[in-house]
């Protein structure tokens, strides 16, 4: 009986020939990540338990991204705590305002994470890096503290669902529509405790940005991780970028899967998750009667360059509908600069959009676009829970950047139709 791609990475990091689903292992960590919300709790635990120094200053990444530039005094105190801890411990991957980006866009872009890594992050969307062929999973602050202290973490080896992707996506869809469709199919706990492993001929038709977006939302199906095998597209992306050489693992031919699900990419349609769970999916064009007050394009799910390109494709030369606020947030400083250099920011402003520096802000209802009672937003973010973006009686619809931008122009939910 063979091992899945995830199990191969876990076995190797645990120093074991073989692992099986359900086994508890202690494994070596390549990167331990935290942000300005979760790191202060980890620092408290780290210090309270008498740890003096981190296991390796080069294997810890601390990114201030949720509430920066700081939204209030308390948020500023939390950032200060992260800054001082990073300085005291000479953390080499500390990203402050001016250098920061949304963590899950930033770390792959800057080459901090690479294929074959085992990564834990005190942020649930840490599963994003599976797009690079790494095992990467979200944990809590105490796990982060233990990881920083010892360089090891405990894991229950997951079983896996294999997604066999075929075909090519239609023009008005993207990786976001793929993952929303999958979550709609299997539910928000459809992959609970499991790996979501993506294979098949269709993956060669998915860009890195598509793959990062798909793995990003694996957690919204309850999964432990999402992962793609390394191919030429991954290698090309990592070339000259990653700090450490990639290590390529492959699933065994006789690996056991709990389930195999076939997805024909050519059948994917522009998809929207309705309140208040990501599994409540509908075709965008079934929702044409839903008027919107706000549009957010950004986040760790969809703030990358291809997402900005999609927004530009729709919004260039157009106007945001009356009564709609549209906020675009490039996810990293490099993407922000690129948007300026390509003239996207000017086009966005001409369309009536506000363009922010990188932040997680509105996605989690922190700041930079909070909804009032009864307001409705279509967002390229990842969660639409009660109160997620503001008032408990506000509503969030999740979509791709193309759908969100097209909706911004119309003032109601609609798919993008090229003219």
């Amino acid at each position: 009986m063979g091992m899945t791609l995830t199990q191969k990475i876990l076995a190797s990091h645990a120093g074991l020939e073989k692992v099986t689903a359900g086994e508890l292992i202690n494994a070596k960590l390549d990167i331990v990540l935290g942000n300005d919300i979760t790191t202060p709790v980890a620092i408290n635990e780290f210090e309270k338990n008498g740890f003096k120094e981190v296991f390796d200053k080069d294997k810890i990444a601390i990114v201030l991204d949720h509430f920066v530039p700081n939204k209030d005094i308390k948020a500023a105190e939390q950032s200060k705590k992260c800054r001082e801890f990073s300085c005291r411990n000479c953390i080499s991957h500390f990203y402050d305002v001016g250098k920061m980006g949304i963590e899950h866009a930033l770390l792959p872009e800057q080459g901090v994470v690479t294929a074959g890594d085992l990564i834990i992050g005190a942020d649930s969307h840490t599963c994003t890096y599976g797009a690079l062929g790494a095992f990467s999973t979200g944990v809590g602050s105490t796990d982060m503290a233990a990881g920083m202290a010892t360089g090891y973490g405990w894991f229950k080896v997951p079983s896996a669902i294999k997604f066999n992707l075929s075909g090519k996506l239609p023009q008005n869809t993207s990786g976001k529509d793929v993952i929303l469709t999958i979550i709609g199919k299997i539910g928000v706990d459809g992959a609970l405790y499991k790996s979501m492993e993506f294979f098949g001929d269709g993956i060669k038709n998915l860009s890195m940005d598509d793959r990062l977006c798909i793995c990003n939302m694996a957690i919204e199906a309850g999964a432990k991780n999402g992962i793609f095998p390394v191919d030429d597209i991954t290698l090309e992306y990592m070339k000259g970028r990653t700090e450490r050489p990639p290590v390529i693992y492959e699933a065994d031919d006789d690996a056991i899967y709990d389930e195999i699900i076939d997805i024909d990419l050519s059948k994917i349609t522009p998809t929207v998750s309705c309140p208040h769970l990501p599994e409540n999916t509908k075709d965008a064009d079934e929702l044409n009667s839903i008027k919107i007050d706000q549009v957010v394009i950004g986040s760790c799910t969809n703030g990358r360059m291809e997402d900005m390109e999609a927004a530009y494709k729709v919004l260039s030369g157009k106007k945001i509908a009356d009564g709609v606020r549209c906020i675009i947030i490039p996810a990293t400083m490099d993407i922000y600069r690129e948007c300026i250099e390509r003239g996207y920011v000017t086009a966005f402003i001409d369309a009536g959009v506000v363009v922010s520096t990188p932040t997680c802000g509105p996605c989690l209802g922190g700041y930079m676009g909070i909804l009032a009672e009864g307001e409705r937003c279509i967002a390229t973010t990842n969660r639409n829970f009660v109160g997620r973006m503001g008032h408990p009686k506000s509503e969030v619809y999740l979509s791709s950047p193309l759908t969100a931008a097209a909706s911004a122009v119309k003032g109601y939910i609609t798919s993008f139709k090229s003219e």
């Binding site: 508890l24 919300i37 979760t38 202060p40 709790v41 408290n44 635990e45 780290f46 309270k48 338990n49 008498g50 740890f51 003096k52 949720h66 509430f67 939204k71 209030d72 308390k74 948020a75 939390q78 992050g121 005190a122 942020d123 649930s124 840490t126 979200g138 944990v139 809590g140 602050s141 105490t142 796990d143 503290a145 233990a146 202290a149 010892t150 405990w154 928000v188 706990d189 609970l192 405790y193 957690i219 309850g222 432990k224 769970l277 989690l364 209802g365 922190g366 909070i370 969660r383 829970f385 009660v386 109160g387 997620r388 503001g390 408990p392």
Partner: protein
């Protein structure tokens, strides 16, 4: 070890945003945060909860964010144990790591109602609903996890030599 109290019952997919909304996460002070526990789905929770009370829910409790603030505020509010049909995986880890008692038991989570008087014996995994005089048995934790719980959380369980 035991917990005994009245029950607060919720449905499936109780997410970390309703357990502790992110708008309050500009602090890591558990006491301050706990004044907002469950606010968006049960505004009265913080006024009604007493030490030792039991929270009961359906499938996938604690889904969403990795914020450890979620199990922390539940613990800080006085809840002695959370019983659910299943837990989201990061919440499950976090609860164990910080020493919040959790039990998976489908039958108990189905039958127990808001306001019932329930006790939980952590040594045996037996859940007793005194209101209807019925007992249930929850599955035991693996030994590795029991060890973390016994030592008082993940960090306390790490060998002192590394400090």
């Amino acid at each position: 070890m035991k917990a005994e109290g009245k029950v607060f019952k919720y449905g499936d997919n109780v997410d970390t945003d309703v357990i502790i909304p992110a708008r309050y996460l500009n602090t890591s002070d558990a006491k301050e945060l706990s004044t907002h526990c469950m606010e968006d789905i049960d505004a009265e929770f913080v006024n009604k909860v007493s030490k030792g009370d039991i929270m009961v829910a359906g499938w996938n409790f604690g889904c969403g964010s990795s914020r450890e603030h979620a199990p922390l505020v539940i613990k800080e509010s006085g809840i002695g144990c959370v019983i659910a049909k299943s837990f989201a995986r990061i919440f499950y880890r976090n609860a164990i790591n910080i020493g919040l008692a959790i039990l998976e038991c489908e039958e108990a989570a189905e039958e127990i109602k808001t306001g019932d008087k329930v006790s939980v014996d952590f040594n045996t995994g037996v859940i007793t609903n005194h209101t209807i005089c019925k007992s249930y048995k929850a599955g035991a934790f693996p030994e590795f996890i029991q060890n973390i719980i016994k030592k008082g959380g993940l960090l306390a369980s790490i060998d002192a030599g590394t400090r």
